[in-house]
């Protein structure tokens, strides 16, 4: 088995009496983008939050290359190689751009590798390089998204969990970020679990798609097949 296989089985998460995730099974493979789609409240963000340890599941398992991470604390899961880029507020605005990036690089990387990684991120996202000494609150929405993705990459993850990276961004920037993501998966072979409401864009770069509705998996197939399924698209994906 190659490094970076994320296996989720029977995962169930409740907020009080409300079941947000109901016995969800998903396997995400290395070198693939797995898109998790569905309407607001379908349980997409809860899925990522449960995987990364921010929320405790009521039942089920999360395995990374066979290692059980189900009940590990969030910081241990991060160190095991799962980088979660949370929706919207992932930037620590009180720190500078570079400090934000360095935080990502701290997971075990040597100082030399950190400097090289930083240089790569700045090359990938030139706007960040210009503002490296500024507090991150000066960044625009697109730049913040670049920052959190760059920061996640610096931690050298096996698995990247992305929560609504397109939220609030102009279509051109979405295309740019998704393009970058695809290149990354193809060249570095990371595993990506991509949660999106913007199903059309997500399916355009995904290999596999999973559709959630009210916490349950209602469909799973190759991304192209999902995009071609008119009934499914109308019922759950809204395009």
């Amino acid at each position: 088995m190659s490094a970076g296989t994320l296996e989720i089985s029977g995962l169930t998460t409740s907020y009080g009496p409300v079941t947000a995730l109901d016995t969800v099974d998903i396997t995400a493979e290395r070198g693939q983008v797995t898109a998790v789609l569905g309407a607001n409240g379908a349980g997409k963000s809860t899925l990522l939050r449960t995987i990364s340890g921010l929320v405790r599941p009521a039942a089920g398992q999360v395995l990374l290359d066979g290692t059980d991470l189900t009940h590990a604390p969030a910081e241990a899961i991060a160190r095991a190689g799962i980088a979660h880029v949370p929706e919207g507020r992932g930037v620590i605005t009180e720190l500078t751009v570079e400090e934000n990036l360095r935080l990502g690089a701290m997971l075990g990387a040597s100082r030399r590798r950190t400097e090289r990684g930083l240089a790569q991120v700045y090359e990938m996202f030139p706007p960040l390089a210009q503002r490296r000494r500024h507090d991150a609150h000066v960044l625009s929405g697109g730049e913040r998204q670049m920052l959190v993705i760059g920061r996640a990459l610096l931690s050298g993850p096996d698995v990247l969990l992305l929560d609504e990276p397109s939220l609030g961004l102009a279509p051109r920037i979405v295309a740019q970020i998704f393009g970058l993501l695809r290149d990354l998966v193809d060249s570095d072979g990371v595993t990506v679990l991509l949660v999106e409401q913007n199903a059309r864009s997500a399916l355009s770069i995904a290999d596999v798609g999973v559709v959630l509705n009210l916490g349950r998996v209602v469909a799973r197939d190759a991304a192209a097949a999902l995009a071609a399924d008119d009934g499914l698209r109308h019922a759950y994906l809204g395009f």
Binding site: S52, G53, L54, P73, A74, E75, A76, A78, R79, A83, H84, P86, R89, G90, V91, I92, T93, E94, L95, E99, R102, L103, G104, M106, L107, R151, S155
Partner: protein
């Protein structure tokens, strides 16, 4: 003129101590959103430990180390045992917990060390320098106080600005969730933050005590002055705490010198109310709006 100079110099020395105390309050506020009203009592307690060591025949410097180490340990233990459970809960609960610690520590000190006034030694001469034949209210010990505070502040700046540990501590203070996702052990960082703050608080307690009298309530007024200084600087800003501390030290020294020492606490209250009503975000806050 000479009185003005003396009052100013006295105010600077006191201001340095208030700055350290306010800084300790700010460090804790930034990381856990708790105003540690027990900080004065904690510093009082560690100063008594130092006094016990010194009266046992050790030097002042051994006492200093004992107080600082005891402060670190006390801060860490308190955060772990009684603050952690109320963190993120209703804000009144955390306030009440620190007040409970305040009362309990003060009473415990009275039981263990007695309620009588005891004199605490100063490491340096308490007689003022003579400038042009005139004796001024600036002593070798005042220099020691100011140098000690400056050294600690530089050390903290170095820690927070230039080390990975400091960066992790700041990240944990600003955003717990994001920090955990980046593998930062947030709980440990918060404990460490409390420990450091309590260490700085212990230092200020020890510096105030030097060459003066200690008794279980001797830090009560300092809590108020330190709090006023921290609010003046904006509770979130370490630099603000330092400037606020010096400002409060000077202002209160003028009040004491020209109006009467009984009015010092009242003046502190007036400054606090004025700041909170006129510029609630403090002089150094980054964010424009703050709920006070």
């Amino acid at each position: 003129m000479q009185q003005f100079l003396n009052v100013t110099l006295t105010g600077l020395g006191q201001g340095a101590v208030y700055a350290a105390f306010a800084l300790a309050l700010v460090l804790i506020w930034r990381s856990t959103r708790v105003v540690n009203f027990a900080q004065g009592a904690m510093a009082m307690f560690t100063t008594y430990l130092a006094l016990t060591v010194i009266e046992g025949g050790q030097s002042y410097w051994v006492g200093l180390v004992v107080a600082l180490v005891a402060g670190l340990v006390l801060g860490a233990v308190i955060e772990r045992l009684v603050i952690r459970p109320v963190e993120g809960g209703p804000e009144l609960n955390a306030v009440i917990v620190t007040l409970g610690l305040f009362v309990a520590l003060q009473a415990l000190a009275a039981i263990l060390f007695g309620s009588t006034f005891r004199s605490f030694p100063a490491p340096f001469d308490l007689r003022g320098f003579t400038v042009g034949g005139v004796n001024i209210a600036f002593t070798p010990n005042s220099i020691y106080i100011i140098v000690a505070v400056v050294v600690v502040m530089l050390a903290l700046v170095a820690l927070f600005r230039f080390t990975d540990l400091g960066l992790k501590m700041r990240a944990a203070a600003f955003s717990q969730e994001v920090s955990r996702l980046l593998g930062v052990p947030v709980g440990r960082m918060l404990t460490l933050g409390w420990a450091l703050a309590a260490g700085v608080g212990s230092l200020s307690g020890l510096l105030i005590a030097g060459g003066s009298l200690v008794f279980p309530a001797y830090m009560d007024a300092v809590i108020v002055y330190g709090f006023v200084a921290a609010v003046l600087g904006g509770l979130d800003s370490p630099a603000g705490a330092v400037v606020g501390g010096l400002t409060i030290g000077l202002l209160l020294s003028y009040v004491s010198g020209y109006l009467g020492s009984e009015l010092v606490a009242l003046a502190a209250l007036a400054i606090l109310v004025a700041v909170l009503l006129v510029r609630p975000q403090g002089l150094f806050a980054r964010t424009a709006a703050r709920r006070v």
